[in-house]
């Protein structure tokens, strides 16, 4: 049997596989002894939510953007102002670039 001996530990994949198979069989035996009197398709197999009506699955789903909800809520004013100039048109972005560059040059020229 192939086994790696590190001196302080042994890695034997065959032993691991056998152990997992044995555990799997034990779990299946245990599961088969469980409660069988549930009536499938009735409320007995519904999700328990402290007795409240369970909303449809799409409404239960927590979107990834919910993580940032607090940031969006706190910085709503800033985001609203920032999103206005973001039109998605390259000409607009170039116009912004030229305008800001002009302001910087003017400041530099006037300051010197």
């Amino acid at each position: 049997m192939s086994a790696l001996d590190y001196g302080y530990a042994v890695w034997a994949p065959i032993v691991w596989i056998i152990a997992l198979v044995v555990i799997g069989i034990l779990v299946l035996i245990w599961r088969s002894r469980g409660q069988k009197s549930y009536k499938k398709g009735t409320a007995q197999t519904d999700i328990f939510l402290s007795g409240t009506k369970v909303p449809p699955e799409e409404e239960r789903h927590v979107k990834a953007e919910n993580i940032y909800w607090g940031f969006f809520e706190a910085l709503k004013g800033l985001y609203r102002a920032m999103m206005k100039p973001h039109t998605g048109i390259v000409n607009d972005y170039l116009l912004w670039f030229v305008a800001i560059l002009t302001i910087f040059i003017l400041i530099l020229v006037l300051a010197s």
Binding site: A43, Q44, F48, G51, T52, K53
Partner: protein
């Protein structure tokens, strides 16, 4: 009572439908070391889907009607409903309150009543044993 030995542990889901908490405190007393029903395998569970017995305290408040029906439907068969306290049995001191549907048996079928305001822990234990006897009868009926 022909109960000689318990075939299995009895799992109970406790639900308060509008009780003043007096009965709930007595139910907790049943679980304390003085009475310690867990030694018989009787224990409270956190979901009706794991329960054999639905234990209800208090009269049914209007806002709780749907919840009571939903939770009753979620208990697997065979199931037994047990009402602890006068309020759940017949309304008790709240029987004329505008916010109540009424006693528990007006919303779901009840198998065992434990009267008292609140009932003593010994009475609750007796009620649980009665529920157990009924549950074993129901289980036998399901098998045959």
């Amino acid at each position: 009572m022909n109960l000689k030995a318990f075939n299995r542990a009895l799992w109970v889901y406790h639900m308060n439908t509008g009780s003043c908490n007096g009965c709930d405190i007595e139910i907790l007393a049943v679980l304390t070391p003085r009475y310690d029903v867990e030694r018989f395998g009787i224990m409270l569970v956190g979901s009706p889907r794991h329960a054999d017995v639905l234990l209800v305290t208090g009269p049914v408040a209007r806002s709780m009607e749907d919840t009571v029906k939903r939770i009753y439907a979620q208990v697997p068969d065979p199931k037994v409903v047990m009402v602890v306290g006068n309020c759940g049995a017949e309304g008790g001191v709240f029987h004329e309150a505008y916010s109540l549907i009424g006693p528990v048996d007006q919303v779901i079928p009840v198998d065992v009543y434990v009267p008292g305001c609140p009932p003593r822990p010994e009475a609750i234990i007796h009620g649980v044993v009665m529920a157990w006897v009924k549950l074993e009868k129901l289980a036998k009926q399901e098998v045959t």
